[in-house]
Amino acid sequence: MSDTQPNTDTRGFARKLADIDKTAVAPFLALAALFVLGALVNPSFIGIDNLLNVLTRSSFIAIIAVGATFVISAGGLDLSVGSMSALVAGIMILFLNSTAIDGDYAMLAAGIVIAIGVGAGAGLVNGAVTTIGRIEPFIVTLGTMAIYRSVTVWLANGGSIAMKSSEMRNLFRPVYTGTFIGLPIPVWIILAVGLLGAFILYKTSFGRHVIAVGSNEDVARYSGIHVNRVRAMTYVIQGICVAIAVIVYVPRLGAATTTTGMLWELQAITAVVIGGTALKGGVGRIWGTICGAFMLEIVGNIMVLSNFVSEYLIGAVQGVIIIIAMLVQRTLQRKG
């Protein structure tokens, strides 16, 4: 994953190369390496259809991980995103199954608004408890992870919550299966969420405050920044991202089960970390995160296409990836 420095280059070029922030480039180099590996393992991997398919499947994690980039850059952590996905999906479907509003389109629009509201609310709970209660986010979100999951199981009566109306299903399905100018809609949504996330994090004063709070909370406070408000807001953004992911997820299966979103928190955090965001806060890389989410899905895809490792071991491979990513990040930072 290290950059190669040819001997022929001039000093100026070498210095420029050394100046590049290696932690920012590393994920994209890793992605390129995976492309090569995938192509070698199975030529069909590199086909445009397969790649778009992989990208589409990575959309849930990519969208959630954009939110996680905010939380982690501000020095927080959210373990509840998987359970929260299940909860938001469950409530959204329950609403769609009701006949509260006339007209399918209006119903669907209201469902989307409700999903986003529930996500933002669930995020606000995480944010408020961590900041006002001054409890470690690890503990708070471990708690809400259990709560959100358990409420979902209760709502589903231990089974699953499925969309009843087939018209509604047909209406909603294109959000996951449809295409627009040749690209699947989930890919457009990833792009939109990424652009918006990058804009907020890099260009606005709120984004600047997120980085400042994650970099050193005391300095932020002494500089007159609303530390608690900024922190809480990152969890709300996380909740909204979960809701957007759910809006892409629900039309895929048309149901929420007790295992919906299982281990998504692990994948989202992994995507953020391999994307170059510092787990201790103060650095956030939106596009690195999306690249990380894509890599996780590619690894799975390569495992399916090859016969080296059983695909049942995909969780183990992802676990190994996060540990290696941390090691690489630390080594690069020490050199830089």
Binding site: T204, S205, A212, S215, V219, S223
Partner: protein, 516 residues
């Protein structure tokens, strides 16, 4: 600088630095230092922050290896493989910071890593007995079963020294041991050191507190900018001469000429102000154009009082700004009212060390650099240009991180950051801590210029000379209260110490009584 050499004692030096030099990368921080330490001698090393004192100590105690030159014991060159090797040879370093486990007992700390055992069990009874004895040797009585967290800083330091002296020792190195001690505690420590000297132990004593150096040392070596300036017998040097050698120029030029910029107009009036646990019933006024000093020992509550006033701590009391009562619920409120506070903890509370200069500069005043929610990068860059020129921030490159700047440039960046808020009252806590002498001069001038421009300044400092040099008036705090005010000709170290310690005595007398 020519120095008439100190009289060389005739016996063989127990420890010697022979043309020792140390470089970190291309930067040489210590150049050709040669000095000797005799048994039964207290040899003081003095110098400004950054003069190379600590580096020299680390070389002599095996924590660092010299780039050139060598360390010799009993006249023979040796290589110290590390601090453990040094201890085996009888070279003991007493660290400046307290390195004890707070939840363990005094005896457990003294014997940590070398516990006495009886079979498989630790022999607590024997360790307690020996620990009590070791502490008694230092002239104190501490129950060896007390947990360290319940001891005062001074007593912890005694425990630390007792621990260090458990090793058979021939040379004991003290690195700024009195930095956090009151004069009484300092005197107790000096007694311990005299005791060691009487036992023919060689003592190397690092400090920048000149009166106590004069009181304890037999010989004094002055370092400046990594070079040895002079080694003299202590009897030949007055504190004033020591200061001149340390700074390399006349100290009086360090401070700008005092101008009576203070007007009669009251800017800030604080009355009956409480910061629970830190400050009680504080009342004072600050006039327009005035530079007001806050003196006192560490822990007297100065920082906490002013943090309370600007809304950084829970506090209550009455504050009037320009004659109008105000209440600052958070530091945002006081900033909006035109009061800024620059923390003493520059690295922990002032600057984001891992971020670049631009982000640090604009952090507190981001609103000035935004259009709607959008940050205007170009305006930020212009702001940085201006700050670099105006505050003389010296950075090799613009894209450096704040943590890569020297202490002096960090302080200038912090000043620039806070001045962007266009304050009318500037509170600076320890403005020159860890800063080189050249930058100190710039900062003093900057403070004087602020007052000249009609702003009011509060300076909190533990360096009494600095307060006397720049302030119009000094308030002294002791144990959470403002106990005195000195102005005009009464602004002397002696007068401040009287209030800071709560006794009618002065530091120099206190030290001299110890030798009686």
């Amino acid at each position: 600088m020519s120095s008439h050499a100190a009289t060389q004692p005739t016996s063989l030096p127990v420890l010697e630095a022979r043309n020792i030099a140390k470089a970190f990368g291309p930067v040489e921080v210590l150049t050709d230092i040669s000095l000797t330490i005799q048994p039964g001698e207290v040899h003081a090393i003095i110098g400004e922050n950054g003069a190379g004192k600590s580096t020299l100590m680390k070389l002599l105690s095996g924590h660092l290896q010299p780039t050139r030159g060598s360390v010799a014991m009993d006249g023979e060159d040796i290589t110290l493989a590390g601090p453990v090797d040094a201890e085996h040879r009888g070279l003991v370093l007493v660290h400046q910071e307290i390195l004890l486990a707070p939840h363990l007992t005094v005896a457990q700390n003294i014997f940590m890593g070398r516990e006495l055992k009886r079979g498989l069990m630790v022999n607590d009874r024997e360790m307690n007995r020996l620990a009590a004895e070791a502490v008694r040797k230092l002239g104190a009585e501490i129950d060896p079963t007390t947990t360290v967290s319940r001891l005062s800083i001074a007593r912890r330091q005694l425990v630390q020294i007792a621990r260090a002296l458990q090793v058979p020792h021939r040379v004991v190195i003290f690195d700024e041991p009195t930095a956090s001690l009151t004069p009484y505690e300092t005197e107790a420590l000096l007694k311990v050191i005299r005791n060691l000297r009487d036992q023919n132990v060689a003592v190397l004593y690092i400090s920048h507190r000149l009166p106590e150096v004069g009181a304890i040392a037999d010989r004094i070596t002055v370092l400046r900018d990594g070079k040895l300036i002079a080694t003299r017998n202590a009897s030949e040097l007055q504190p004033v001469d020591m200061a001149k050698l340390m700074v390399g120029r006349d100290m009086s030029k360090l401070y700008p000429e005092r101008e009576e910029t203070a007007t009669r107009e009251t800017m800030l009036e604080v009355s009956n102000f409480d910061v629970p646990g830190y400050a009680r019933d504080a009342s004072f006024t600050l006039r327009k154009g005035e530079i007001l000093g806050f003196a006192g020992l560490i822990g007297a509550g100065r920082t906490e009082l002013l943090e309370g006033i600007v809304g950084l701590r829970a506090a209550h009391g009455h504050v009037e700004l320009n004659g109008k009562p105000v209440k600052f619920h958070s530091v945002r409120d006081s900033m909006a009212a035109g009061i800024v506070y620059l923390s003493e903890d520059r690295k922990g509370k002032g600057l984001l060390l891992a971020q670049n200069l631009r982000m640090n500069l604009t952090l507190a005043s981001l609103k000035k650099f935004t259009k709607g929610p959008l940050i205007e990068r170009k305006r930020e860059e212009q702001g940085l240009d201006k700050a670099i020129a105006e505050f003389d921030i010296r950075a090799r490159r613009r894209d450096l991180l704040a943590g890569q700047l020297s202490g002096g440039n960090q302080q200038k960046l912090l000043l620039a950051k806070m001045m962007l808020l266009d304050p009318s009252i500037v509170i600076i806590d320890e403005p020159t801590r860890g800063i080189d002498i050249g930058t100190k001069e710039q900062i003093y001038k900057f403070i004087a210029d602020l007052a000249k421009a009609g702003k009011s300044v509060i300076v909190i400092s533990s360096e009494m000379q600095e307060l006397i040099g720049v302030c119009h008036r000094i308030l002294v705090m002791r144990s959470a209260r403002i106990v005195g005010e000195v102005t005009g000709d009464a602004m002397t170290e002696d007068e401040i110490v009287v209030y800071a310690t709560g006794v009618k005595t002065n530091e120099a007398e206190l030290y001299s009584t110890g030798t009686a």
